[in-house]
Symmetry: C2
Subunit: 462 residues, 2 copies
Amino acid sequence: MSVPKAQLEAFLAELRGASPGLDVTTAEATLAPFGQDESGLGTFPPQALVRAVSTAHVSTVLRLATKHGVPITPVGARTGKSGGSLPIAGGVALSLERMDRILEVNADDLLMVVQPGVRTAQVDEAAEKLGLFYPPDPNSADACTMGGNVAENAGGPRALKYGVTRDYVLGLEWVMPTGEVLRVGRRTHKGVAGYDLVGLFVGSEGTLGVATEITLKLIPRPRVVKTALIPFRNVSDAARALSSVLTSGAWPRTLELLDEVALKAIAGQGLPTPPDAGAVVIAELDGNQDDAVLSELSAVVERCASWGSLEAVVAQDEAQRARLWAVRKAVSPALRSLLGQKISEDVVVPRSKVPEAIERFKAAGARQGLVVATYGHAGDGNLHSNVLYRSMDEWPRVEAVLAELMAITLELGGTISGEHGIGLAKKRFLALELSAPLRELQRRLKVFCDPSVVLNPGKIWD
Amino acid sequence: MSVPKAQLEAFLAELRGASPGLDVTTAEATLAPFGQDESGLGTFPPQALVRAVSTAHVSTVLRLATKHGVPITPVGARTGKSGGSLPIAGGVALSLERMDRILEVNADDLLMVVQPGVRTAQVDEAAEKLGLFYPPDPNSADACTMGGNVAENAGGPRALKYGVTRDYVLGLEWVMPTGEVLRVGRRTHKGVAGYDLVGLFVGSEGTLGVATEITLKLIPRPRVVKTALIPFRNVSDAARALSSVLTSGAWPRTLELLDEVALKAIAGQGLPTPPDAGAVVIAELDGNQDDAVLSELSAVVERCASWGSLEAVVAQDEAQRARLWAVRKAVSPALRSLLGQKISEDVVVPRSKVPEAIERFKAAGARQGLVVATYGHAGDGNLHSNVLYRSMDEWPRVEAVLAELMAITLELGGTISGEHGIGLAKKRFLALELSAPLRELQRRLKVFCDPSVVLNPGKIWD
């Protein structure tokens, strides 16, 4: 899909006139990379790219897009997994990457104000300098930007204890699809004045507006973090152990699971696992007292032992911890390299259903002659189940497996997306989870905010 | 205001026909108590009362109300402080109190499903039996109901560490003002499928719909809770100490403050404070290790000592803890009894501004010859500043003080309501906090959900 040349030219001409200093380009070489993200859903280069450096830029782009009916796709670091930043309708990619300043770090008020182009890792690094903590830790934290985190309501391993992006966004400067600039939310950790539009806008996947300033809640940083690698003979034992850990009173900040395929993918990367390990759990606890955290970690390790875990390894220092997490972060690319292609899901099932879900996902793959690898945030039921394949010839069978994964997930009382979003990737499955009246209300809400349907069209909704 | 008799009769007649078993009454004696709540904003008896026992009842009431243009005010325990449950437009009070069943307590999935009439305290009692925790603890927890907590996004002392009602609502069965029944949200702790309507609906003060089923997130219950009463010579020292505690790395679950007027009000109730105490802080920490929690509490007490606190008292057992909190809960009624009348605010200022806010609130009262007492959740900046008065003769001066409190709060970067809601009480101040375009968008959102404006009209918006 694309916008007729004359229509686009008229839009760009008025935009250039109205936005001095706005970087507008139509050079194909520059546009090319903006046609892809990490969803692997294809290549959809925009017809033009604008790089905003101010809220006024964003507002003008959207106001004129609404006037000219030109599709706008907001873009950050393009690390998304659901295709949210793919300009599938053509038109203009609106990059926020140059709005990359941390505007305020306020230790007394436990908050930070950032522009959308600030990388997620920068936020926690700045907080750490003041003994504070920004917990959300998507796997792409070093590359992804806060605008994208807000759009997708990004999660990560620590969501188990600390929640997701939405739990840390206090306020937003928000540009509506019409170009109207609003300040929603607040600077205090508590507040109920008016409707919670922050709650509505976070996770709206770039379809209800664009964040140009983000006020984040920070919390005191735990002084002690202890991490254990707990091997199991097989993933079923591991999954059952996890369920039982969470009802034992312990509250780890992460309970990550890697199945035997994930382990095979990262073999040789130095994860200290015994040869008979068919799965591992990475359990991490935090607090302010060394002994207390260690004894809680021991309790978790013992609980796992009672479910048949093998000898656990507790990271002895920060370097060992960092190595464990580096290997964990390497799982996704390593799985891709096994057969060349993969598609990664992020379904969530009620915690008690994790063992059954993993077994049924594997069986669903096997029925199509495909391998399903499962790893991820099993502690909160958020499973990154990956369907591995070699080439597009296998795609119809991959599709069949994905459909089964979604059906099983919903049958178990889960949700089709825990943190990646619907975007383009899961549009076709949304009707399985949300009722027709609920989808209708949400579509109407989209049009309520974006009457001309110019902002990220074709995402979530057709 | 009231609905013409013929119009009301036509509505009630059709309602009775359509809802077998629905308890409908127009008996004045029964209606009278439904004309008041704990806001002290006046008496507005409804013209009829319906007591729903099912979602179908609620749906039919709203569908027919929309058809007949009859105002419906949802009512729980009427413990609200902002007038949210007052039928100011006349019409019908819709009581949810008889939908009072806990439908599911699921320890494996860490969740609970309740009807709106379940009392808040019941939720945590049921969770505690399984070693789980429902943290929100509004002062009225023993009386207020979850439907009201969802409508107002209720908070409480523990919000400092654990957040508010909204942070624990995973899903809702929600009846739109048109009568349409929707299931929004999910049963998993994580999920991003579609827009976050749970975020939008929680805290909508009974203006966007009615919750008929609430799915709540539970968390592991800390095994150890330690509480200290820390006296100070004056409230300024106390407030400054609080700010510094929160930047020291400690993360208490409550940091409550009582100023000298609040202390005077509860004199004789047995709070163990020295004679020269002009303020007290109640600091409570939790965890799973006795020594760790005690040593963190000691660190908080020492930090306060460095800011001039007097001899602190650490509760030695559960009975002493309960006693401290019983006295804390008694502050609000005790303050009323000082002069006979009071109006309680719930403004929030950035934590670092708490000392300045308290001093300026007092001065604002003094300028009008009135006493302003401040107590509450100072740890997160949420201050219950109370203007005390004797009779309505003083009301104009009370109003003048309230207006100054709001102006000071906003000047300090705060919000006019932390947990009570706007309702009727703060409608006139909302324009001071929310911009005209933002108010306009929210008003339009109200009409988007409630085209006939029959659900709780006159609340938040005129």
